[in-house]
């Protein structure tokens, strides 16, 4: 059997490479919590990255369970944090943005579906205290009924 020509292999690989370069974003921080977002359809697209700050919450992923337990936690940038540190984080993020953007920042809450509301309410209370009132509950797209099996 004649050998299959592999002359076009680099072309295929370059195409895949360009796809990934275009369709993805450099990850800011490694996710240390489980983050299976819930589903919703009344959604709007988040603003550009420089107008958004991210707060992650959920149960620690399997690698961190032994060290940090199984209860849901908040993750800010690359570290776990407590509820009281949320306020300081928001103020720091706000200070690091350009003057014009400081009042239009949105806080994106990327929370695992299985988290209980107690933690979320505490986070929202902290956000109210620092006047970060524009929030976005980040979700995947789909029908609300998928949230309740």
């Amino acid at each position: 059997m004649p050998a299959i020509s592999t002359a076009s292999l680099p072309d295929i690989v370059f195409m895949l490479l360009f796809f990934f370069m275009v369709a993805t974003v450099m990850r800011d921080s490694t996710l240390m919590v489980k983050n299976q977002l819930p589903v919703a359809d009344q959604i709007q697209k988040l603003d550009k990255k420089d107008r958004v700050m991210y707060i992650y919450a959920g149960a620690p992923s399997s690698r961190y369970v032994d060290k940090y337990g199984a209860l849901p936690r908040i993750q800010l940038n690359d570290k776990f944090a407590t509820v009281s540190e949320v306020g300081a984080f928001v103020l720091a993020e706000r200070a690091s943005k350009r003057q014009e953007l400081q009042n239009v920042l949105t806080t994106a809450l990327k929370v695992d579906g299985e988290t209980k509301m107690g933690l979320i309410t505490d986070i929202k209370q902290e956000l109210r205290k620092v006047n970060a009132l524009k929030i976005n509950y980040t979700t995947r797209v789909g029908a609300y009924s998928q949230n309740i099996e």
Partner: protein, 194 residues
């Protein structure tokens, strides 16, 4: 040549993510306490309570989540008011025991600390959907030339690719419909059952 390409590909596969960049936008109420809360009639408040077993209590009755959107629309669209408080664009039942006017109608949401977040999102989704259903209807009725409903017009308005002239044109229309059905969604302190 292919080796270099493979290396770069593996690099990108490992360091990037396909971002989920959409969700439900909400605005939190500011911290300051209102000195004297305005007197609100009981019928103008639509209570939704979610307990730790993720069950819904709508207006004191156990309800299925699938009914929530319809019940919220019925409440908001009721228009049971008379005279000054009458609502001329409401198509609801005009029940005197339900809300007077959409701009007086308040939806109050209360959940337990142990309620699951995804159920909370499902409830938020349905309540926002109820507002959007009514806002869509009114936008289409008032501005048939736009040939889109409220949600589509809003999406166009927030899209960075739309021209400033079009945004200028859309803004007053969007604001008018938003005033007809304002999102008065209040969230109470969650209860803590030990």
């Amino acid at each position: 040549m292919a080796d270099i390409a493979f290396l770069l590909l593996i690099f990108f596969l490992v360091t990037t993510t396909i971002e989920t960049d959409s969700g439900i936008n909400r605005k939190l109420p500011p911290m300051e306490e209102i000195e004297d809360p305005p007197i609100i009639k009981q019928k103008n408040i639509f209570t939704v309570v979610v307990n730790k077993n993720n069950q819904l209590l709508v207006e004191e009755e156990l309800t299925d989540i699938d009914d929530l959107r319809r019940l919220a629309v019925e409440f908001l669209d009721n228009g049971g008011g008379e005279g000054e408080e009458a609502c001329d664009f409401c198509l609801g039942a005009r029940d005197p025991k339900s809300s007077d006017n959409p701009d007086k109608a308040i939806i109050s949401l209360k959940n337990d600390r142990e309620t699951s977040y995804k159920v909370y999102i499902a409830v938020q989704n349905e309540l926002v959907a109820a507002y959007n259903v009514l806002r869509d209807r009114e936008f289409l009725r008032l501005f048939p030339n736009e040939r889109m409903n409220f949600v589509e017009a809003n999406k166009k308005y927030t899209d960075p690719r739309t021209s400033p002239e079009e945004k200028e044109r859309l803004k007053p229309k969007l604001d008018e419909v938003k005033l007809m059905f304002p999102q008065k969604l209040s969230e109470a302190e969650p209860s803590k059952t030990n």
